[in-house]
Symmetry: C2
DNA sequence: ATTCATTGTTACCTGTACTCACAATGAACG
DNA sequence: CGTTCATTGTGAGTACAGGTAACAATGAAT
């Protein structure tokens, strides 16, 4: 440790971990036959954090992807009846995304799967260390922000991912 | 904080960060017109950690991907003259992957790019915190191991990624 | 010699996200 | 009013990363 390029190394570890998370999560998803992909699962979970149905653009910003990607994800979820597109009467350009009952149900199972996957990944860490890691990651994520776009306007519905 | 599902959240942050790393790294790679993709860059860097040219299977294990993926990556790198496939006289099934001079040159630029990307990501953290994060990630990565396969036989050429 | 395991690869498919172009809507301003 | 411009979501196309399955070549074991 204290290698020549500690920061670069750190990025490498990050990548590796994420690949692992992805693989494990996928396994759990398949096993439970929920019929959704990891990215869709992510959108679904994100959806749950809003108090009122978000717009596509909100989700894009939140997920740190381009709006087009959200369209695809919502397509998939809607086809499986997990979410619903509802027009916004106040602004006919916007579409708001609502969780359906089935979506909420799926979400419950999803959380279990997620928890199991996380537990598997985090096994080597103790309680205290997890907290540390959590704080560090929070700092990182909330820090510079910014997907392909710049920064968020601020007055969103009810974010904060918690 | 101290939310209902801290571990799940943690995984979420991980994913988000990685997406960011990926995006930033890609941007750097394009800007410098190195003509390689992030995954190829990863393989290249990994290659540098071996004292003697590794086999395809070694790389697959190291990168935690299926051997087939390595084939594709090496194809790309070889086409750009960054690496060379050399047959192993001792075992005619194996192919060893060597860095070419051009590959080594690219590697130098790559490190700079990587460092810049990491710096950008890690900006919100202080020196002390980076060390902490580094240690935590190390523990995680070295912990349970295991790609699609199980565990590594141990006697690899010269691993340890550092 | 036959059988089995290793190694890399051919062929194909999925998931994810990106760019570009565009239609529909809304807002600003003459 | 009409013109112009920004916002919002989407169709079409592309790139990249990785996974499965089948296989040919080689090596090892019996």
């Amino acid at each position: 440790m204290t290698a020549p390029d500690p920061d670069g190394l750190l990025a490498e570890q990050l990548l590796r971990l994420t690949r692992r998370v992805h693989r494990i999560q996928k396994r759990y998803l398949e096993r439970r036959e929920l019929g959704i992909t990891p990215a869709q699962s992510r959108l679904l979970r994100t959806l749950a954090h809003y108090s009122s149905p978000p717009r596509m653009a909100d989700l894009a910003e939140r997920l740190e992807v381009v709006p087009r990607a959200v369209t695809t994800l919502v397509d998939g979820l809607e086809a499986h009846g997990k979410v619903r597109r509802v027009p916004d009467p106040a602004n006919r350009r916007v579409i708001r995304i609502e969780l359906t009952d089935e979506g909420r149900e799926t979400l419950r199972e999803l959380r279990a799967a997620r928890r199991a996957a996380a537990a598997e990944i985090l096994a080597p860490l103790g309680e205290r260390e997890r907290e540390q890691l959590g704080e560090l990651l929070n700092t990182l994520v909330d820090g510079p922000a910014g997907p392909p776009c710049e920064e968020r306007p601020g007055g969103g519905p009810g974010p904060v991912e918690g």
